[in-house]
């Protein structure tokens, strides 16, 4: 794999971050936070606590980045941290008592602070559709759609072959279309296998 000048610069930032350089850690976080949000959304599509989960990933990054052994594994490491945070949050949500009325928690969700009603409706609808996709199809799809990541990058992060990424993205798009057309039911989702 040929290394581009930008990659070398990125490597230096990662190396500085591993040494505890606060500015480098800050720069790394800013560089990666959007796709980390995408990973969190893929594994826990509820948007209400996304900022809390991001905080947790950020804090883990600051506290543990020195444990990263190879600079080139940064993305995969951050992805693992994000997946663990999302899954722990999902587990915790399952074990928490259900609030009878969500209206009791009157604090607006972050999404409500940022968007208008129509945009919110579209986002909510699409996030609900994404939530119905099998988990291993969601992540490559959102990484491709949100961050425009290439198959190679997604494959590296998820530690799966590039061809698998392409297949999952294509199938996820087909499933989303069917879900959208059929009001939430699709044969493609039912028939999805771990490919």
């Amino acid at each position: 794999m040929n290394q581009q000048p930008g990659d070398r610069q990125g490597d230096r930032v990662v190396a500085a971050a591993l040494e505890g350089d606060r500015e480098a850690i800050d720069a790394l976080w800013r560089l990666h936070r959007r796709w980390i949000a995408a990973v969190l959304l893929a594994h826990k599509p509820a948007m209400d606590d996304l900022d809390d989960l991001l905080q947790e990933v950020a804090m883990t990054m600051v506290a543990k980045i020195h444990t990263l052994r190879e600079e080139r594994n940064l993305r995969a490491w951050l992805r693992t941290v994000a997946v663990n945070v999302a899954r722990a949050s999902a587990r915790s949500a399952r074990s928490r008592p259900v609030t009878p009325s969500a209206e009791l928690d009157s604090t607006p969700s972050p999404l409500r602070l940022h968007t208008g009603e129509m945009e919110r409706d579209e986002t909510t609808r699409i996030m609900e559709l994404i939530a119905q996709l099998p988990e291993n199809y969601r992540e490559p799809l959102v990484l491709r759609a949100l961050h425009g990541m290439r198959s190679r990058q997604i494959a590296e992060i998820m530690n799966i072959p590039e061809a698998t990424v392409d297949t999952r993205v294509a199938r996820a798009r087909r499933m989303l279309l069917e879900l959208s057309e059929n009001g939430g039911a699709t044969s493609a989702v039912d028939g999805a296998v771990s490919s």
């Binding site: 850690i25 800013r30 900022d51 506290a63 604090t107 972050p110 949100l146």
Partner: protein, 212 residues
Amino acid sequence: MNSTEQDMLLSDLLDGETIEREWAQWSAAAETDPALWRRLAEAQRDELALVRSLNRASSIADAVEVSSQSDVEIITTSTEFGARRSVWSWTGWAMAATLMLVAAVWKLQIPPANNTNTSQPIVNTAGIASAPEDYFKQYLETGKRDGTVIGELPARIVLEARPAENGIGYDVTFLRQIQERTRVPDLYQVVGEDDRGRAQLVSYEPPAGNPM
């Protein structure tokens, strides 16, 4: 071209990573099935909506920082919001039953189980009052003895964490959850607000045999 190949080709077209060959393939297929052009157009529309929605949802990330003005601070611009929401989630859960305990005036004292005088502060062997944690333990023990404290829940809710100023460890702000018990003459349920925005209360009677 079967449907799987069509999906793959369409996905490539949506990614914009295609070369002439893919476009030629799609065009050739669309010559015999013009509906493919419609499918492509709809897929592009859906993809745009997907990208737009994900961008909106993930834009929250732009407000989350690992550092702000100072080197030591890792609390983000939205931490205050996150913390406030954590508190709200907690209080929201606690308020889920929408029951108001009218205890301020009517609170009935539960007689202590014994007459141990527990009003004495804990002192260490040097005769100096101990750390806050000792007073806290005293409160728990005293409360358990007289029946007003059930105990402390093991989970602590973290509101904020930041690296310590001396660079060693983290300063963490958290909530401790204490279960207390009291006895009141009546329970009231909030059923709405009057014209002046004051809470409307009605007497609440839990179903017989159910401790709520």
